[in-house]
Amino acid sequence: MAMNSPDPAAPATSPGDDATQLIPAVRSGVPQLDQTQFIPPVPSAAPRSGTADGREMDETAVIPLVVPASDPAEVTQVERPQRIRRKDDTGFIMFGRVRAYDSEPGAADYRGRHGDIIPLAEASRARKIFHGVGELMITFGLVLLLFAGYEIWGKAAIVEDHQNDLDAQLEQAWADDPRVVNIPPPVDPSASPSPTPTQAAPPPIPPGGSLGRLYLPRLGKSWVVVEGVQVQDIRWAPGHYPDSAQPGEIGNFAVAGHRSPAIFWDLDRMRPGDPVVVETRTTYFVYRVTSLEVVAPTATEVVAPVPGQPGVSPTVAMLTLTTCNPKWDNYQRLIMHAQLVRSQPRSAGRPAEIGG
């Protein structure tokens, strides 16, 4: 803040008056205005233009010190120890000490409507803390929003990627060797393990191995079904309850899947009578939905060979899908039962239900 050459706007000041040069905004036309402000007992003093910016008139009351009116330099240099709390018409609250300062909006050194307040250290510290906490909370909210987007779109894309891999590998395995009934799970899709076909009549499918395909024509969706319902098995595909029947078998072919947009999201839209198709290496099995129900997570009877009647030996081939309910939560299970109505060999083409 070096002294500039004399301000052309203030040529009227006497040359020896350094102090007024520090306050270029003190207009030469109203030299006495500053001083009257600090004399509270004169309530009807010259109308303060400062009130127009929202300051309260009575705030000057906390500044009882009357500065010597004769010396304008004194006005600028006295720092008043009084603390004030000022609230303007926008609700903004300012704590601090007042310094003599009263330039007008538009003046060269105008420092804002609270330019005459030196903030208290503790007030500005508290403000920094509030500010920081507020920013953190906003940031956390944005991260949560992004996570919600990831749960819906990000995971759907990942699951579809994995499903495409599983599908291609299943197709390849079935085409390569008609006796192949499954392929090992792709542990890491980027590693793309070569299928090591398991041969023989009905070999046990290892956990995570692909079993076949499941079609829900009403939802326009199909998935590769894997063996097993452990978390790692069903991460990217519906999984077959290992102890339940095989597709088309008398008993209950039970499959669990996530209630995620890429898997059983819309399972509640299925209606009794809707077709459900299961494709294995040799056969298409066509089921028709018989019922949907919402049960407790412990209702294991829904996957019994005769759904709802554990211990009873089955006489018909059923299919049961289980997923979580409601969406985004897991305190219930949504269950869909279907009954086998017919089957046709794969060589006979796709059944009409899935556009064969």
């Binding site: 069903i234 939560d329 897991n330």
Partner: protein, 54 residues
């Protein structure tokens, strides 16, 4: 925090805007591709729902 970042970003307002967009994109990508996939199995919405046979 944000004000501090804004002050530190170089090259005037255009540079600050470009820098801000870059920072946001990098942060979102790290969250989307690394943090969320790692955190997601720890959360209950989707991964423990198929426990019918417990």
């Amino acid at each position: 925090m944000y004000a501090w970042i804004w002050r530190k970003l170089p090259f005037g307002v255009p540079g600050k805007l470009v820098g801000s967009v870059l920072l946001v994109a990098i942060t979102a990508a790290i969250l989307w591709y690394w943090v969320f996939p790692a955190a997601e199995p720890l959360l209950p919405f989707d991964d423990v729902q198929v426990t019918d046979q417990q």
